[in-house]
Subunit: 240 residues, 2 copies
Amino acid sequence: MNTIEVCFTPKLYSEIITKKNFIVVMVDILRASTSICAAFENGVAAIIPVATLEEAKAYKDKGYLVASEREGVVTGFADFGNSAFNFMTEAVRGKTIAYSTTNGTQAIELAKNAQAMVIGSFSNITFLSKWLIQQNSNVVILCAGWKNKFNLEDSIFSGALTERLLQSTDFKMDCDAAEAALDLWSIAKINPLEYIQKAAHRRRLKKLNLDDVLEFTFQMDTANVVPLLKNGVMIGEKDI
Amino acid sequence: MNTIEVCFTPKLYSEIITKKNFIVVMVDILRASTSICAAFENGVAAIIPVATLEEAKAYKDKGYLVASEREGVVTGFADFGNSAFNFMTEAVRGKTIAYSTTNGTQAIELAKNAQAMVIGSFSNITFLSKWLIQQNSNVVILCAGWKNKFNLEDSIFSGALTERLLQSTDFKMDCDAAEAALDLWSIAKINPLEYIQKAAHRRRLKKLNLDDVLEFTFQMDTANVVPLLKNGVMIGEKDI
Protein backbone atom coordinates (compact mmCIF):
# COMPACT_ATOMS: atom_id res chain seq x y z
CA MET A 1 0.00 0.00 0.00
CA ASN A 2 1.43 3.38 -1.00
CA THR A 3 1.03 6.37 1.29
CA ILE A 4 -0.11 9.92 0.61
CA GLU A 5 1.37 12.66 2.73
CA VAL A 6 0.68 16.39 2.49
CA CYS A 7 3.22 19.00 3.50
CA PHE A 8 1.51 22.38 3.89
CA THR A 9 4.65 24.52 3.56
CA PRO A 10 8.29 23.94 2.57
CA LYS A 11 9.27 24.62 6.17
CA LEU A 12 7.53 21.39 7.22
CA TYR A 13 9.21 19.31 4.50
CA SER A 14 11.91 18.04 6.87
CA GLU A 15 9.14 16.60 9.10
CA ILE A 16 7.61 14.25 6.52
CA ILE A 17 7.19 10.68 7.70
CA THR A 18 8.02 8.90 4.44
CA LYS A 19 11.76 8.64 4.28
CA LYS A 20 12.40 6.63 1.12
CA ASN A 21 10.87 5.77 -2.24
CA PHE A 22 8.57 8.71 -2.64
CA ILE A 23 7.62 11.04 -5.43
CA VAL A 24 7.21 14.70 -4.57
CA VAL A 25 4.37 16.59 -6.24
CA MET A 26 5.24 20.27 -6.01
CA VAL A 27 2.21 22.57 -5.88
CA ASP A 28 2.20 26.33 -6.35
CA ILE A 29 -1.26 26.93 -7.76
CA LEU A 30 -0.90 30.74 -7.86
CA ARG A 31 0.92 30.62 -10.13
CA ALA A 32 4.09 28.63 -10.91
CA SER A 33 2.71 25.11 -11.17
CA THR A 34 -0.21 26.17 -13.36
CA SER A 35 2.18 28.08 -15.63
CA ILE A 36 4.63 25.16 -15.94
CA CYS A 37 1.85 22.78 -16.96
CA ALA A 38 0.60 25.32 -19.54
CA ALA A 39 4.14 25.69 -20.90
CA PHE A 40 4.61 21.98 -21.63
CA GLU A 41 1.10 21.64 -23.01
CA ASN A 42 2.07 24.45 -25.37
CA GLY A 43 5.21 22.61 -26.50
CA VAL A 44 7.95 24.28 -24.46
CA ALA A 45 11.03 22.00 -24.70
CA ALA A 46 12.37 22.34 -21.18
CA ILE A 47 12.26 24.55 -18.08
CA ILE A 48 15.28 25.15 -15.88
CA PRO A 49 14.11 26.08 -12.38
CA VAL A 50 16.46 28.52 -10.71
CA ALA A 51 16.12 29.64 -7.10
CA THR A 52 17.91 32.99 -7.16
CA LEU A 53 17.57 36.06 -9.36
CA GLU A 54 21.35 36.01 -9.91
CA GLU A 55 21.10 32.59 -11.56
CA ALA A 56 18.14 33.75 -13.65
CA LYS A 57 20.15 36.75 -14.82
CA ALA A 58 23.08 34.49 -15.75
CA TYR A 59 20.79 32.39 -17.98
CA LYS A 60 19.49 35.57 -19.60
CA ASP A 61 23.08 36.60 -20.39
CA LYS A 62 23.63 33.18 -22.00
CA GLY A 63 20.73 33.81 -24.38
CA TYR A 64 17.95 31.81 -22.70
CA LEU A 65 14.39 33.02 -22.38
CA VAL A 66 13.87 33.97 -18.74
CA ALA A 67 10.63 33.98 -16.74
CA SER A 68 11.08 35.57 -13.35
CA GLU A 69 9.05 37.31 -10.69
CA ARG A 70 9.20 38.26 -7.04
CA GLU A 71 6.02 38.82 -5.04
CA GLY A 72 4.00 38.82 -8.25
CA VAL A 73 6.08 41.46 -10.05
CA VAL A 74 8.18 40.69 -13.17
CA THR A 75 11.87 41.29 -12.46
CA GLY A 76 13.57 43.88 -14.68
CA PHE A 77 15.76 41.70 -16.88
CA ALA A 78 13.19 38.92 -17.47
CA ASP A 79 11.39 38.26 -20.77
CA PHE A 80 8.16 37.71 -18.90
CA GLY A 81 6.71 36.87 -15.50
CA ASN A 82 4.62 34.22 -13.90
CA SER A 83 1.24 34.24 -15.66
CA ALA A 84 0.26 30.99 -17.40
CA PHE A 85 -0.70 33.11 -20.43
CA ASN A 86 2.97 34.08 -20.87
CA PHE A 87 3.79 30.41 -21.40
CA MET A 88 1.04 29.79 -23.94
CA THR A 89 2.35 31.90 -26.82
CA GLU A 90 3.80 30.77 -30.17
CA ALA A 91 7.11 32.47 -29.24
CA VAL A 92 7.96 30.03 -26.43
CA ARG A 93 7.16 26.81 -28.32
CA GLY A 94 10.21 24.53 -28.64
CA LYS A 95 12.27 26.80 -26.40
CA THR A 96 14.05 26.21 -23.10
CA ILE A 97 13.08 28.70 -20.38
CA ALA A 98 14.92 29.56 -17.17
CA TYR A 99 12.30 30.17 -14.47
CA SER A 100 12.48 31.73 -11.02
CA THR A 101 9.54 32.60 -8.75
CA THR A 102 8.94 33.74 -5.16
CA ASN A 103 7.85 30.39 -3.78
CA GLY A 104 7.69 27.73 -6.46
CA THR A 105 11.28 27.27 -7.52
CA GLN A 106 12.52 27.28 -3.92
CA ALA A 107 10.20 24.36 -3.20
CA ILE A 108 11.50 22.55 -6.29
CA GLU A 109 15.06 23.06 -5.04
CA LEU A 110 14.13 21.56 -1.67
CA ALA A 111 12.64 18.38 -3.09
CA LYS A 112 15.08 17.67 -5.87
CA ASN A 113 16.66 14.72 -4.07
CA ALA A 114 13.40 12.76 -3.95
CA GLN A 115 13.01 9.69 -6.17
CA ALA A 116 11.21 11.99 -8.62
CA MET A 117 9.81 15.50 -8.51
CA VAL A 118 6.79 16.46 -10.57
CA ILE A 119 4.46 19.44 -10.82
CA GLY A 120 0.76 19.38 -9.97
CA SER A 121 -1.99 21.84 -10.82
CA PHE A 122 -5.70 21.73 -11.51
CA SER A 123 -4.80 21.88 -15.20
CA ASN A 124 -3.06 18.47 -15.19
CA ILE A 125 -4.85 16.78 -12.28
CA THR A 126 -6.37 13.87 -14.22
CA PHE A 127 -3.27 13.11 -16.25
CA LEU A 128 -1.04 13.45 -13.17
CA SER A 129 -3.26 11.17 -11.05
CA LYS A 130 -3.13 8.42 -13.68
CA TRP A 131 0.64 8.80 -13.98
CA LEU A 132 1.14 8.66 -10.18
CA ILE A 133 -1.02 5.55 -9.85
CA GLN A 134 1.13 3.88 -12.53
CA GLN A 135 4.38 4.69 -10.67
CA ASN A 136 3.35 2.57 -7.67
CA SER A 137 5.27 4.74 -5.18
CA ASN A 138 4.55 6.76 -2.03
CA VAL A 139 3.50 10.34 -2.75
CA VAL A 140 4.39 13.51 -0.84
CA ILE A 141 2.39 16.55 -1.92
CA LEU A 142 4.54 19.59 -1.19
CA CYS A 143 2.72 22.93 -1.08
CA ALA A 144 4.90 25.91 -1.95
CA GLY A 145 2.75 28.05 0.32
CA TRP A 146 3.40 31.75 0.63
CA LYS A 147 6.74 32.58 2.24
CA ASN A 148 6.62 29.42 4.33
CA LYS A 149 3.05 30.07 5.45
CA PHE A 150 0.05 27.79 4.88
CA ASN A 151 -2.11 28.85 1.94
CA LEU A 152 -5.58 27.83 0.86
CA GLU A 153 -5.08 27.37 -2.89
CA ASP A 154 -2.24 24.84 -2.60
CA SER A 155 -4.04 23.05 0.25
CA ILE A 156 -7.32 22.52 -1.59
CA PHE A 157 -5.42 21.22 -4.60
CA SER A 158 -3.65 18.75 -2.29
CA GLY A 159 -7.08 17.57 -1.21
CA ALA A 160 -8.26 17.27 -4.80
CA LEU A 161 -5.22 15.19 -5.77
CA THR A 162 -5.57 13.05 -2.62
CA GLU A 163 -9.20 12.35 -3.57
CA ARG A 164 -8.09 11.19 -7.03
CA LEU A 165 -5.32 8.94 -5.69
CA LEU A 166 -7.69 7.34 -3.17
CA GLN A 167 -9.80 6.18 -6.10
CA SER A 168 -7.00 3.67 -6.56
CA THR A 169 -7.03 1.01 -3.85
CA ASP A 170 -3.22 1.14 -3.80
CA PHE A 171 -3.17 4.41 -1.83
CA LYS A 172 -3.99 5.42 1.73
CA MET A 173 -3.51 8.69 3.62
CA ASP A 174 -0.67 8.72 6.11
CA CYS A 175 -1.01 11.99 8.00
CA ASP A 176 -3.53 14.42 9.45
CA ALA A 177 -2.58 17.05 6.88
CA ALA A 178 -3.84 14.81 4.05
CA GLU A 179 -7.12 14.29 5.93
CA ALA A 180 -7.48 18.04 6.45
CA ALA A 181 -6.68 18.82 2.80
CA LEU A 182 -9.32 16.33 1.69
CA ASP A 183 -11.89 17.91 4.02
CA LEU A 184 -11.07 21.43 2.80
CA TRP A 185 -11.45 20.20 -0.78
CA SER A 186 -14.86 18.71 0.08
CA ILE A 187 -15.99 22.28 0.84
CA ALA A 188 -14.05 24.03 -1.93
CA LYS A 189 -14.93 21.71 -4.79
CA ILE A 190 -18.49 22.97 -4.99
CA ASN A 191 -16.97 26.11 -6.53
CA PRO A 192 -13.16 26.37 -6.23
CA LEU A 193 -12.97 29.79 -7.87
CA GLU A 194 -15.47 31.24 -5.41
CA TYR A 195 -13.89 29.43 -2.45
CA ILE A 196 -10.50 30.92 -3.20
CA GLN A 197 -11.78 34.50 -3.05
CA LYS A 198 -10.97 34.50 0.65
CA ALA A 199 -7.35 33.41 0.16
CA ALA A 200 -4.79 36.04 1.15
CA HIS A 201 -2.67 35.51 -1.98
CA ARG A 202 -5.68 35.90 -4.24
CA ARG A 203 -6.23 39.34 -2.68
CA ARG A 204 -2.52 40.09 -3.10
CA LEU A 205 -2.66 39.30 -6.84
CA LYS A 206 -5.82 41.35 -7.27
CA LYS A 207 -4.09 44.33 -5.75
CA LEU A 208 -1.28 43.91 -8.32
CA ASN A 209 -3.79 43.46 -11.16
CA LEU A 210 -2.38 39.97 -11.68
CA ASP A 211 -5.59 38.02 -11.32
CA ASP A 212 -6.32 37.77 -15.05
CA VAL A 213 -5.26 34.12 -15.02
CA LEU A 214 -7.39 33.15 -12.03
CA GLU A 215 -10.26 31.54 -13.90
CA PHE A 216 -7.85 29.54 -16.06
CA THR A 217 -6.04 28.37 -12.89
CA PHE A 218 -9.10 26.54 -11.64
CA GLN A 219 -10.04 24.95 -14.96
CA MET A 220 -9.35 21.24 -14.82
CA ASP A 221 -7.58 19.16 -17.44
CA THR A 222 -6.32 21.74 -19.88
CA ALA A 223 -2.89 20.01 -19.85
CA ASN A 224 -2.16 16.33 -20.55
CA VAL A 225 1.38 16.36 -19.25
CA VAL A 226 3.44 15.68 -16.13
CA PRO A 227 6.28 18.19 -15.71
CA LEU A 228 9.13 16.05 -14.38
CA LEU A 229 12.46 17.21 -12.97
CA LYS A 230 15.48 15.25 -14.21
CA ASN A 231 19.04 16.32 -13.43
CA GLY A 232 18.01 19.87 -12.65
CA VAL A 233 15.98 20.31 -15.83
CA MET A 234 12.22 19.98 -16.16
CA ILE A 235 10.73 18.19 -19.13
CA GLY A 236 7.14 17.35 -20.06
CA GLU A 237 6.25 13.66 -19.62
CA LYS A 238 3.39 12.89 -22.01
CA ASP A 239 3.36 9.09 -21.98
CA ILE A 240 1.22 7.09 -19.61
CA MET B 1 -9.75 45.75 14.63
CA ASN B 2 -7.87 42.87 16.25
CA THR B 3 -6.54 40.02 14.14
CA ILE B 4 -6.78 36.26 14.56
CA GLU B 5 -3.91 34.19 13.27
CA VAL B 6 -3.54 30.40 13.45
CA CYS B 7 -0.17 28.69 13.56
CA PHE B 8 -0.59 24.98 12.77
CA THR B 9 2.71 23.83 14.31
CA PRO B 10 5.41 25.37 16.52
CA LYS B 11 7.77 25.19 13.55
CA LEU B 12 5.68 27.84 11.78
CA TYR B 13 5.60 30.17 14.80
CA SER B 14 8.48 32.29 13.48
CA GLU B 15 6.40 32.99 10.33
CA ILE B 16 3.45 34.65 12.07
CA ILE B 17 2.47 38.02 10.63
CA THR B 18 1.53 39.76 13.87
CA LYS B 19 4.72 41.11 15.37
CA LYS B 20 3.54 43.03 18.41
CA ASN B 21 0.75 43.21 20.95
CA PHE B 22 -0.60 39.72 20.63
CA ILE B 23 -1.78 37.07 23.04
CA VAL B 24 -0.77 33.50 22.28
CA VAL B 25 -3.35 30.79 22.92
CA MET B 26 -1.46 27.52 23.21
CA VAL B 27 -3.44 24.48 22.13
CA ASP B 28 -2.52 20.85 22.75
CA ILE B 29 -5.94 19.21 22.85
CA LEU B 30 -4.57 15.66 23.28
CA ARG B 31 -3.79 16.16 26.03
CA ALA B 32 -1.84 18.93 27.80
CA SER B 33 -4.17 21.89 27.33
CA THR B 34 -7.24 19.92 28.40
CA SER B 35 -5.38 18.65 31.48
CA ILE B 36 -4.16 22.11 32.49
CA CYS B 37 -7.69 23.55 32.33
CA ALA B 38 -8.99 20.62 34.40
CA ALA B 39 -6.23 21.21 36.98
CA PHE B 40 -7.14 24.86 37.60
CA GLU B 41 -10.85 24.10 37.61
CA ASN B 42 -10.04 21.55 40.33
CA GLY B 43 -8.18 24.15 42.41
CA VAL B 44 -4.54 23.45 41.59
CA ALA B 45 -2.55 26.49 42.80
CA ALA B 46 0.02 26.75 40.00
CA ILE B 47 1.66 24.78 37.20
CA ILE B 48 5.31 25.19 36.27
CA PRO B 49 5.80 24.16 32.65
CA VAL B 50 9.20 22.60 32.05
CA ALA B 51 10.52 21.62 28.62
CA THR B 52 13.04 18.93 29.53
CA LEU B 53 12.84 15.78 31.62
CA GLU B 54 15.98 16.89 33.48
CA GLU B 55 14.18 19.99 34.74
CA ALA B 56 11.13 17.91 35.68
CA LYS B 57 13.35 15.55 37.66
CA ALA B 58 14.96 18.51 39.45
CA TYR B 59 11.52 19.74 40.59
CA LYS B 60 10.71 16.23 41.79
CA ASP B 61 13.90 16.24 43.87
CA LYS B 62 12.84 19.58 45.39
CA GLY B 63 9.58 17.98 46.56
CA TYR B 64 7.13 19.21 43.93
CA LEU B 65 4.44 17.05 42.41
CA VAL B 66 5.56 16.20 38.88
CA ALA B 67 3.41 15.36 35.85
CA SER B 68 5.49 14.16 32.96
CA GLU B 69 5.13 12.06 29.83
CA ARG B 70 6.85 11.42 26.54
CA GLU B 71 4.92 10.05 23.56
CA GLY B 72 1.97 9.33 25.82
CA VAL B 73 3.91 7.29 28.41
CA VAL B 74 4.43 8.47 32.01
CA THR B 75 8.14 8.98 32.71
CA GLY B 76 9.58 6.85 35.53
CA PHE B 77 10.12 9.45 38.25
CA ALA B 78 6.84 11.33 37.74
CA ASP B 79 3.87 11.27 40.11
CA PHE B 80 1.50 10.97 37.18
CA GLY B 81 1.19 11.55 33.44
CA ASN B 82 -0.85 13.58 31.07
CA SER B 83 -4.46 12.50 31.50
CA ALA B 84 -6.89 15.21 32.60
CA PHE B 85 -8.24 12.76 35.19
CA ASN B 86 -4.85 12.85 36.97
CA PHE B 87 -5.37 16.55 37.57
CA MET B 88 -8.90 16.24 38.90
CA THR B 89 -8.19 14.44 42.18
CA GLU B 90 -8.43 15.74 45.75
CA ALA B 91 -4.66 15.11 46.16
CA VAL B 92 -3.57 17.84 43.73
CA ARG B 93 -5.90 20.58 45.01
CA GLY B 94 -3.97 23.61 46.29
CA LYS B 95 -0.69 22.17 45.06
CA THR B 96 1.93 23.42 42.60
CA ILE B 97 2.75 20.91 39.85
CA ALA B 98 5.80 20.81 37.55
CA TYR B 99 4.62 19.61 34.15
CA SER B 100 6.46 18.37 31.09
CA THR B 101 4.91 16.82 27.94
CA THR B 102 6.02 15.75 24.46
CA ASN B 103 4.58 18.72 22.61
CA GLY B 104 2.71 21.05 24.90
CA THR B 105 5.39 22.47 27.16
CA GLN B 106 7.79 23.03 24.25
CA ALA B 107 5.14 25.19 22.59
CA ILE B 108 4.67 27.12 25.85
CA GLU B 109 8.43 27.73 25.99
CA LEU B 110 8.38 29.09 22.44
CA ALA B 111 5.63 31.63 23.06
CA LYS B 112 6.59 32.84 26.48
CA ASN B 113 7.79 36.23 25.22
CA ALA B 114 4.38 37.17 23.81
CA GLN B 115 2.35 39.87 25.57
CA ALA B 116 0.54 37.01 27.33
CA MET B 117 0.34 33.26 26.93
CA VAL B 118 -2.81 31.37 27.81
CA ILE B 119 -4.11 27.83 27.35
CA GLY B 120 -7.10 26.89 25.22
CA SER B 121 -9.15 23.69 25.16
CA PHE B 122 -12.73 22.70 24.46
CA SER B 123 -13.21 22.60 28.22
CA ASN B 124 -12.64 26.36 28.67
CA ILE B 125 -13.67 27.64 25.22
CA THR B 126 -16.55 29.87 26.32
CA PHE B 127 -14.74 31.38 29.30
CA LEU B 128 -11.56 31.86 27.24
CA SER B 129 -13.42 33.52 24.35
CA LYS B 130 -15.04 36.03 26.70
CA TRP B 131 -11.68 36.73 28.33
CA LEU B 132 -9.92 37.22 24.97
CA ILE B 133 -12.61 39.59 23.73
CA GLN B 134 -12.13 41.65 26.92
CA GLN B 135 -8.36 41.91 26.40
CA ASN B 136 -8.79 43.82 23.11
CA SER B 137 -5.58 42.44 21.61
CA ASN B 138 -4.49 40.47 18.53
CA VAL B 139 -4.67 36.71 19.02
CA VAL B 140 -2.28 34.04 17.73
CA ILE B 141 -3.57 30.50 18.19
CA LEU B 142 -0.53 28.23 18.43
CA CYS B 143 -1.15 24.54 17.85
CA ALA B 144 1.34 22.28 19.62
CA GLY B 145 0.85 19.72 16.85
CA TRP B 146 2.60 16.39 16.98
CA LYS B 147 6.39 16.65 16.73
CA ASN B 148 6.15 19.74 14.57
CA LYS B 149 3.56 18.17 12.27
CA PHE B 150 0.04 19.44 11.60
CA ASN B 151 -2.64 17.65 13.62
CA LEU B 152 -6.41 17.59 13.33
CA GLU B 153 -7.44 17.95 16.97
CA ASP B 154 -5.55 21.21 17.58
CA SER B 155 -6.64 22.56 14.19
CA ILE B 156 -10.37 22.02 14.69
CA PHE B 157 -10.12 23.65 18.12
CA SER B 158 -8.44 26.64 16.46
CA GLY B 159 -11.43 26.84 14.14
CA ALA B 160 -13.86 26.59 17.04
CA LEU B 161 -12.10 29.41 18.92
CA THR B 162 -11.89 31.53 15.77
CA GLU B 163 -15.65 31.10 15.32
CA ARG B 164 -16.25 32.33 18.88
CA LEU B 165 -13.95 35.36 18.49
CA LEU B 166 -15.60 36.35 15.20
CA GLN B 167 -18.88 36.70 17.10
CA SER B 168 -17.27 39.87 18.41
CA THR B 169 -17.08 42.55 15.73
CA ASP B 170 -13.65 43.53 17.08
CA PHE B 171 -11.96 40.52 15.43
CA LYS B 172 -11.10 39.51 11.87
CA MET B 173 -9.06 36.64 10.46
CA ASP B 174 -5.64 37.56 9.16
CA CYS B 175 -4.31 34.41 7.47
CA ASP B 176 -5.34 31.46 5.34
CA ALA B 177 -4.65 29.08 8.22
CA ALA B 178 -7.44 30.71 10.27
CA GLU B 179 -9.82 30.38 7.30
CA ALA B 180 -8.88 26.70 6.90
CA ALA B 181 -9.27 25.99 10.63
CA LEU B 182 -12.73 27.56 10.58
CA ASP B 183 -13.71 25.42 7.58
CA LEU B 184 -12.42 22.24 9.21
CA TRP B 185 -14.40 23.10 12.33
CA SER B 186 -17.54 23.60 10.21
CA ILE B 187 -17.24 19.91 9.31
CA ALA B 188 -16.00 18.64 12.67
CA LYS B 189 -18.48 20.46 14.88
CA ILE B 190 -21.36 18.21 13.86
CA ASN B 191 -19.68 15.56 16.01
CA PRO B 192 -16.12 16.41 17.11
CA LEU B 193 -15.56 13.11 18.90
CA GLU B 194 -16.48 11.14 15.79
CA TYR B 195 -14.52 13.48 13.52
CA ILE B 196 -11.37 12.98 15.51
CA GLN B 197 -11.41 9.20 15.10
CA LYS B 198 -9.35 9.64 11.94
CA ALA B 199 -6.63 11.69 13.65
CA ALA B 200 -3.25 9.98 13.80
CA HIS B 201 -2.64 10.91 17.43
CA ARG B 202 -6.03 9.57 18.50
CA ARG B 203 -4.96 6.19 17.01
CA ARG B 204 -1.61 6.52 18.78
CA LEU B 205 -3.30 7.04 22.17
CA LYS B 206 -5.69 4.16 21.54
CA LYS B 207 -2.73 1.85 20.92
CA LEU B 208 -1.29 2.93 24.30
CA ASN B 209 -4.69 2.50 26.02
CA LEU B 210 -4.61 6.21 26.80
CA ASP B 211 -7.88 7.18 25.21
CA ASP B 212 -9.96 6.98 28.40
CA VAL B 213 -10.04 10.77 28.56
CA LEU B 214 -11.12 11.28 24.95
CA GLU B 215 -14.82 11.87 25.58
CA PHE B 216 -14.03 14.36 28.35
CA THR B 217 -11.62 16.17 26.00
CA PHE B 218 -14.40 17.12 23.61
CA GLN B 219 -16.89 18.18 26.29
CA MET B 220 -17.30 21.94 26.19
CA ASP B 221 -17.26 24.29 29.17
CA THR B 222 -16.29 22.05 32.05
CA ALA B 223 -13.73 24.69 33.14
CA ASN B 224 -14.39 28.37 33.86
CA VAL B 225 -10.78 29.42 33.94
CA VAL B 226 -8.00 30.84 31.74
CA PRO B 227 -4.61 29.28 32.51
CA LEU B 228 -2.22 32.21 32.18
CA LEU B 229 1.58 32.14 32.11
CA LYS B 230 3.24 34.81 34.26
CA ASN B 231 7.00 34.84 34.87
CA GLY B 232 7.38 31.20 33.95
CA VAL B 233 4.55 30.03 36.21
CA MET B 234 1.01 29.26 35.15
CA ILE B 235 -1.90 30.37 37.28
CA GLY B 236 -5.66 30.09 36.81
CA GLU B 237 -7.34 33.38 35.89
CA LYS B 238 -10.96 33.16 37.02
CA ASP B 239 -12.06 36.80 36.78
CA ILE B 240 -13.69 38.24 33.72
